[in-house]
Point group: C2
Chain length 142, copies 2
DNA sequence: CCTTATTAATTGTACATACAACTATAGTAA
DNA sequence: TTACTATAGTTGTATGTACAATTAATAAGG
């Protein structure tokens, strides 16, 4: 059964969550080549772009809660991809050399993922669609 | 930080998943009055509309995997809201009287949730938006 | 009829995520 | 200085979800 054939296809909850699961799955397939789940990958990319960034900023940037960030960082630390150093009540997160080596693969994955969904959804359509989703997300936290 | 200000706000993965979390949160607040999480509530409503329905059909209808349906049903069964009877390799799921009593609250929650997001997103906008999400979801599983 | 394949559902296990409670540091007011 | 408050981060615990493996029952092929 297609999503649009469900009896709840007119409901915002059903629609957003089932779409998110489909997109997550697509993304997971792509990032498997980097050995990471999508959320770990995005987190790591932010750390690579901004070495020393604090968990609080990561939470804001990725729209996740601080506790989730802690949990993701634990995993990345176990994989020797980041290190945390703490001074006072602040914590800084740095990428390891191993993470830096991974950067090309990460960038490639971003590219591949983008290519893939553009080829499925269409360039302009996906662009407009994503813009709309952001608009909706913004309204929901007003 | 708003979702649209994140450095990944142009990425389909980031956008859909963060939007889904916001919608989930809104829905969870509403369905708390029924004492259920959104996914349990929708599952229960399908069972109420179609008593005796099989887990496989529930999975198709709700766009979830069979194992997830099993897990959700376990919880609902523990709360005495559904019962499972199995004949051969098929399982039938029925609502209990307690579930039937809950029906008005469930319907009210659907209504409240709809009112709430329409008031935030706008009637026509949310309508068009949801239709678009379904279109995208359909393309993603082609 | 027996064997093989298919299907329906459940289990073991793992993961991403969040909330509430907690620690520890920093800032502020008396 | 001391006491209160606010902030940053981490833990304990729970939830929803899925994959892979497993059971159990039906269907198909020889």
């Amino acid at each position: 059964m297609k999503a649009s054939e469900s009896r709840y296809c007119r409901c915002l909850y059903f629609t957003t969550s089932s779409l998110a699961r489909k997109v997550e799955k697509l993304a997971a397939g792509i990032w498997k080549q980097a050995g990471l789940s999508p959320s770990h990958a995005y987190l790591l990319m932010v750390v690579l772009e901004e070495p020393g960034i604090q968990p609080g900023s990561l939470a804001a940037e990725l729209q996740l809660t601080p506790s989730t960030i802690t949990r993701l960082l634990e995993k990345l630390e176990a994989k020797k991809l980041v290190v945390r150093t703490s001074e006072g009540k602040l914590t800084n997160v740095y990428p390891t050399p191993k993470a830096k080596e991974l950067l090309p693969v990460l960038k490639q994955s971003v590219y591949d993922f983008h290519q893939q969904y553009v080829s499925i959804l269409g360039k302009d359509e996906s662009d407009v669609f994503i813009r709309n989703m952001n608009k909706m997300a913004d309204k929901l936290e007003g």
